[in-house]
């Protein structure tokens, strides 16, 4: 025991010394474009995070394998594990920003909020693809933040549009009950103002069912409430372990699944599969392609996955969340390409990346060119509108896979945009002195 204590002293000392020696990592070699990926493959949200991480990583890696990077410059990819934890997210940011990071994809509303004010200071744009702060779509106020292709408020209005379609027009919404079950955190609360406004405007009743984060797998009360209130439609804003549990509970109370619509983060195959055949009819929003009949995905399969250069399970290629990750990387890659074209540089900086993202114009033709025809809706980012695209489609679970059931549905831009602008102004006011936009518009 005595020796053990000496040993322990030595260990403690060694830990202390090593701690002092955490040297700053050397900067990346200058002939690559460095893209850090803040991912989470552990923690309560790993179930959703793993597929996204794989998709993001594999597409960029495929570009490296196939084309030698973008514009002849390889992409240096580095994953940093955040576990969906704000403390680690900041640590990852600080650890990678000095290496010439081009863009950040935090994949967590909390981490996004921390990075938004830093983006303009450190001159590194934040790309929160379909999450984060909805108001960030207002490019005049948030020049450094992009939430291509769509904001939560767009998404919520699409759901209402879709429900109206089913019921025969927006007027027939009046008197209907629409339930909203959500993760009780910033993420799930974000759409509420819009839904409330629409409820008032179109005369439907909005019923809210919050699911606390530590009760994600214990939702029977919420669904009992649903059973009592008998809403005509259910909308879900869930993530991670909340999704499969909610779908199971919905099946359990025999809620009509075809009237249950999830946001694009509740669109995972694993989520719906928890309900199995009984969950057939469950719908979810989506904005990235379904399936793997795309040349680029085939390239990923042969060049990256089959070559054993990644840990992706081959069966997961083409699933919703994997494809979402791919789309995220497509936007990054196209942003880099645009930036290279605009600046004439091959190795770009975060500032160039911002210009590139702001000038991003992902047309139908360009999508076809990169082997992803029809994979996403064309996106055109402008200086004012950092969301770029907006329409989303709805996919339905048929018991085994998701099938696209609607065409692209436009959101109610006329309602959403004023709200976005008001929210952006509110944010700027509350965080006064919020810097005025000084970045010139490249278009």
């Amino acid at each position: 025991m005595k020796h053990l204590k000496t040993w322990a002293c030595a260990t403690a000392l060694a830990v202390g010394v090593t701690a002092g020696a955490v040297a700053p990592q050397p900067a990346q070699a200058q002939d690559t474009n460095y893209v850090p990926l803040l991912t989470y493959r552990t923690g309560p949200f790993a179930g959703s995070g793993i597929h996204i991480a794989n998709g993001m990583n594999d597409y960029l890696q495929m570009l490296n394998e196939r084309d030698g990077g973008i514009g002849g410059v390889p992409i240096a990819i580095e994953e940093c594990e955040t576990s969906y934890n704000a403390q680690k997210g900041v640590e990852c940011y600080e650890a990678t920003k000095g290496k010439g990071a081009l863009v950040y994809n935090p994949y967590s509303t909390g981490i996004t909020l921390q990075l938004i004010p830093k983006a303009s200071v450190d001159k590194i744009p934040v790309l929160s693809m379909g999450y984060g702060l909805s108001a960030a779509a207002v490019g005049d106020v948030f020049p450094w933040v992009f939430n291509v292709p769509v904001t939560y408020w767009d998404g919520a209005s699409v759901v209402i549009n879709y429900i109206a379609d089913q019921e025969g027009g927006l007027d027939s919404l009046s008197g209907k009950k629409i339930g909203y079950i959500f993760l009780d955190a910033g993420y799930g609360r974000e759409p509420i103002p819009l839904l409330e406004q629409l409820a008032e405007k179109h005369g439907f009743e909005l019923l809210q069912y919050p699911v606390p984060a530590n009760q994600m797998q214990n939702q029977s009360s919420q669904w009992l409430n649903v059973r009592r209130d008998r809403p005509d439609y259910m909308i879900m804003w869930g993530w991670g372990a909340m999704n499969p549990t909610a779908i199971k509970e919905a099946v359990k109370i025999r809620y009509p699944m075809d009237k249950f619509i999830g946001v694009w983060w509740s669109a995972g195959e694993d989520d719906a599969a928890a309900g199995g055949q009984d969950a057939a009819g469950y719908k979810a929003l989506n904005f990235s392609g379904v399936g793997m009949d795309f040349p680029a995905l085939q390239d990923i399969k042969t060049l990256v996955v089959d070559a054993g250069k990644t840990q992706t399970d081959p069966a997961s290629i083409g699933t919703t969340l994997y494809n979402r990750g791919v789309l995220n990387s497509v936007i990054i890659a196209e942003g880099i390409r645009t930036a290279q074209e605009l600046t004439g540089k091959k190795v770009i900086t975060g500032e160039d990346m911002r210009v590139g993202l702001e000038a991003l114009n992902l047309t139908q033709e360009r999508l076809a060119e990169i082997g992803l025809a029809g994979f996403a809706h064309p996106m055109k980012v402008t200086c004012e509108d950092h969301a770029g695209s907006h329409p989303v489609f709805i996919q339905e679970w048929d018991g085994e896979r998701f099938v696209k059931v609607t065409d692209w549905i436009e959101p109610m831009t006329d309602v959403v945009r004023p709200l976005l602008e008001a929210a952006a102004a509110d944010y700027a006011e509350k965080n006064a002195p919020w810097p005025e936009r000084t970045e010139a518009c490249a278009q």
Binding site: G47, M216, K248, D270
Partner: protein, 317 residues
């Protein structure tokens, strides 16, 4: 306002009796499931005075091992047996490596050691099985999956999930088996002796180490059963670990050392929180389930600091 608090909920209960019954049933099931987790705590606390925080992660670990083995092609029942074996090895390892060197340390140190164990098992489990949630192999294990609906009144309906019924039956069987084990077998009596007084037990020739390994193994079995039941309700993932916190108010109510206490405490919490959430939760925006159980426990404690069935605390200078 007063009407909403004092009258309306009861009117609702009366007007929709089928729904009230359903709420009671859900409360009953939730209570049973909480009780199962609490049972694991009680077993270990009774025999060794260790407040085992790792019970939550043991639930996840057992579930993951079972599902992980099955995914790798092991037939369900064989996987179940192998998992039991893994839990036995784990129990022995914990006793040998963690608990034995810590004999006679203060409560808080033992508590911390189990939290350290939690960290270790989280890392270990994720390393082996990956972090993604897995589907529980309910059908493969021969557990029922469907549901039965009972007509009630005119348009009333009470839906009973077969898996919930199975959970209740298994929990009751388990408690029964444990009661027999504790009261009728040699090892069970030795266990109680250890719980009463370590030194006295040692002096009559009971091996503390052996007893502790057995207790941890029993807790591992309870964890496995809990893992299967909770896993069938949602899925097996590391997020499930948080559920273990729900066992704490149950323990408080029932007392740390009482097996029937764990069951009754679980039922009180289960009924209490469902009824509160469904009939009163709406008044404050819902979602009160995350803390309501603790408040019940807190109020209880103010009147009975040792829990419902706990041994009376006698303090001397």
């Amino acid at each position: 306002m007063l009407y909403d608090i004092f009258v309306d909920p009861f009117v609702q209960m009366y007007q929709m009796p089928d729904f009230f019954l359903q709420v009671l049933w859900e409360g009953f099931v939730a209570g049973i499931l909480y009780a199962l987790i609490a049972l694991g705590f009680v077993l270990i606390f009774k025999a060794s005075g260790v407040f085992n925080f790792a019970q939550g992660i043991m639930v996840v670990f057992a579930g993951l091992t079972l599902v992980g083995l099955h995914e790798n092609g092991v037939p369900a029942y064989l996987a179940l047996i192998l998992t039991i074996g893994v839990m036995a090895v784990l129990a022995y390892g914990i006793e040998r490596i963690v608990m034995r060197p810590l004999v006679n340390q203060p409560d808080i140190i033992l508590l911390m050691a189990t939290i350290g164990l939690t960290y270790f098992l989280i890392g270990f489990g994720e390393l082996i099985f990956g972090g993604e949630p897995k589907r529980m192999i309910t059908e493969e294990l021969g557990l029922p999956t469907g549901s039965t609906a009972f007509e009630f009144g005119e348009r009333g309906l009470v839906i009973l999930q077969h898996i919930d019924i199975a959970a209740a039956v298994i929990a009751i069987l388990m408690v029964g088996a444990l009661a027999v084990f504790f009261n009728k077998t040699r090892i069970g009596r030795a266990l109680r002796a250890v719980a009463d007084d370590h030194q006295a037990a040692l002096s009559v020739g009971i091996s503390l180490n052996q007893i502790w390994a057995i207790v941890w193994f029993a807790a591992g079995l309870v964890a496995l059963a809990t893992g299967i039941m909770w896993g069938a309700r949602s899925d097996v993932s590391f997020a499930l670990e948080i559920i273990a916190f729900k066992a704490l108010p149950v323990l408080i109510l029932g007392g740390f050392t009482s097996i029937p206490g764990a069951i009754i405490g679980g039922l009180i919490i289960g009924f209490g929180e469902k009824i509160a959430e469904l009939y009163w939760g709406g008044l404050v925006g819902g979602g009160i389930e995350s803390w309501f159980a603790y408040i019940i426990a807190l109020i209880f404690l103010l009147f009975r600091p040792q829990g419902l069935f706990g041994e009376k605390i006698i303090e001397r200078v």
